[in-house]
Symmetry: C2
Amino acid sequence: MHAPTPFRYEQLASLIVGMIDNGALAPGARLPSVRAVSEQHQISISTALQAYRLLEDRGVLIARPQSGFYVAATRRKALGLPSTSRAAAKPSSVSISGVVAALLEHASNPALVPLGCAFPDAELMQAKRLDLALARAARQHGVRHNIYTPPSGDMRLRCEIAKRAMRVGHTLSPDDVIITAGCTEALTLALTVVATRGDTIAIESPSYFGLLHTIEMLGLKAFELPTHPTRGVDVDALAGLLESVPVAACVLSSNFNNPLGSAMPEPDKRELLAILDRHNVPLIEDDVYGDIYFGREKPKPFIALDNGGNTIYCGSFSKSLAPGYRIGWLAARKYAQQLMERKLAFSLCSPALPQVALADFLESGAYEVHLRAIRRIFEDNLARMTRTIEESFPPDTKVSQPVGGYVLWLEMPRRFDSRALFDRALEEGICFAPGIAFSASGRFRNCLRLSAGHTWSQQVADGVRRLGQLAKDQLVSSPTSN
Amino acid sequence: MHAPTPFRYEQLASLIVGMIDNGALAPGARLPSVRAVSEQHQISISTALQAYRLLEDRGVLIARPQSGFYVAATRRKALGLPSTSRAAAKPSSVSISGVVAALLEHASNPALVPLGCAFPDAELMQAKRLDLALARAARQHGVRHNIYTPPSGDMRLRCEIAKRAMRVGHTLSPDDVIITAGCTEALTLALTVVATRGDTIAIESPSYFGLLHTIEMLGLKAFELPTHPTRGVDVDALAGLLESVPVAACVLSSNFNNPLGSAMPEPDKRELLAILDRHNVPLIEDDVYGDIYFGREKPKPFIALDNGGNTIYCGSFSKSLAPGYRIGWLAARKYAQQLMERKLAFSLCSPALPQVALADFLESGAYEVHLRAIRRIFEDNLARMTRTIEESFPPDTKVSQPVGGYVLWLEMPRRFDSRALFDRALEEGICFAPGIAFSASGRFRNCLRLSAGHTWSQQVADGVRRLGQLAKDQLVSSPTSN
């Protein structure tokens, strides 16, 4: 299958943004009428209107009733990017489980505005077809599949996963795929293969709190690498670290970092792999957001660039299709046997019928269609959320510019306390993820992560706005000198 | 729900066995005609015939065409019980994964006579109704359940599990139940809560190879306790061990030991709990076979007898209903929070729809009906298999007398090599589990486990007979002096 072609309205929107960027369309300029642009580009009026509405949603254009569309004259200066995180002084024992438990308790509360956990909106997932495949498999083949699968999982599903890997240039044998209970089990099994209690794991900073929690439960230590908000971990810093500290493994989620939404440039990825290879340090790659990219094609995962074969790849369908199915996978030639032994010891195998249903679904080609749809939805959600933040948060707020996934990372002035905001926001029925949940060493107290995984709605918009007001209130009541 | 009443044909069969045992019916004696017995006991002719046929299957009666049923005159002396295993000299590092992998590779091969793994026959499981519940849940409520459940699992399922625990006198709150990927994940999570790398775990001997494999993967050591073939672990030996060796936990599968099929008497269980309590050593109880009992009611699990609350209970539906669903659970008040944190770190949560389907199924009451049916089938399978072993194996073979589950444990003369038999049997298309897979220290080379989990058939009977012949051949070709 080829890289998907953008829809025509997306092409037109890109063209207009390009003209604004290069000055061909000045701030305040009136755009051609929808009718004129539809004739000029030989597209339907509704397609032209869709492009204009998209840019209106993103704050690029402004619609004036009875007049038309204009380039936003008062387009606010975009908020700055969060800072590059600094290098850790030493490995940290992790003690995050209290924070994580508190967050999850509230994150699953449907009464709250759902900005807390990076769960995709079940309504957006359109997994109906997958559910029907499950219903069919259960009705027709229940008895045949009421058995343990091999520890590595259903062969048809592994074949489909291997086929998809080929598209990003990763030649993968189904025998090197192991089906897991989501990315969480994949990460756990991978970590137990390459590290034992007390070992140090090098990680991005900020890093997904679930990874930190697993590191804590396995009795490992985390070393937080300096991380740029769009380019990812500092490769030189990693090289320096490996010269001075024994590191059992490096865990990266580079397409796309959670919470930054950043993708590491490919040359940096290659350099990082070379450094790890030189020190014989394995890389565990968490690619759970990899299919939700906003560019023309999926950034290559590390494993597709790794000739040394020292990468253990962790993937999942939880963020992009079916969180309820708990199906992820491991891919790793060199470690396949050891990973399979751990899978056998830790959970024997994964449930059979959900795997059968997912294999049917993937074979049908429906997944690619679904992905095309949700990529646009999530990109759009992020754009609307960014605009709402620009309008409502303190002016010195910094915000990430994700190129994939569906979360935003906000950095407030250093004196800001996002835990206090968390408690305050809960009182008003709003949930988000406080920054300290993303650090092994108590960093990011002044940061927060907002999820844009839910359908954009008045409730979500109001929640973001109210959060902005609460943030302003806190800063006003805590003087700068603090 | 009350303890199930035996069927009338079972009552009659028991009566006849009792009369044979107390001499009222001598070997070779002719039984009353089916018509006579049906009038005498006021039962239907088909019920009377069902009782006679059951006893014929078990080798108690012999049918002579045109003549009637007779007490088996040439009833072979039953084979003796396997020996009580001896005490280990010290804790053993475990290195079993090679054996386990080899066994599982063949055990799932449908071309082989399936005596290898203790999988229940999918055809016997009659999980059709469960599958239909899954199909219904997927069709009707897929979107609603396309989310992560809480780490501890679906609340309705936890309630049903807590209700069932009440019936064996175990007062359990749904909040203390954690849904897992079968008993395997339950055991793994429990072990990581109570032990760290290098710690010693006291276990039965023989013990289920999956437990040994998990102990190996977690870097723990196993101490094998002397174990009686019907009474279970030697409580005094455990008391002595705890005085001399630091033990992190004790893991027991006492209803019913796999591979012995034994149940520890309740007074022994109470004494064992008191000893563990005195030394503050937690007990992990694997009750995976607990629902497949042959007596009038389920033997009480340890957790129902444990006032100290130091027991972590591991249960599962894999052996008695749905191996393909991978649903088990943990129950433990004291450790509930720590177990939940591990579940979160290791696999986040279990898939949603299979839990919903199982909750529906349990609520319907269909599980109890199903259990009554399979208990009789497995007991019958074991009786037939025992009789076939008596007829075909070497006369000094010893065989277990299971009171639950569906496996038999055979002990051959000490010079016997069950690994050699394993390789030989595979050549003839027969799979079983060699004894060394059940020891951390290379014991039981002269033992083997046969599964009676499959529908009894000519193929299974022929497989057992052929295995007996191969065993005889090996003993003939290896002289006693060896």
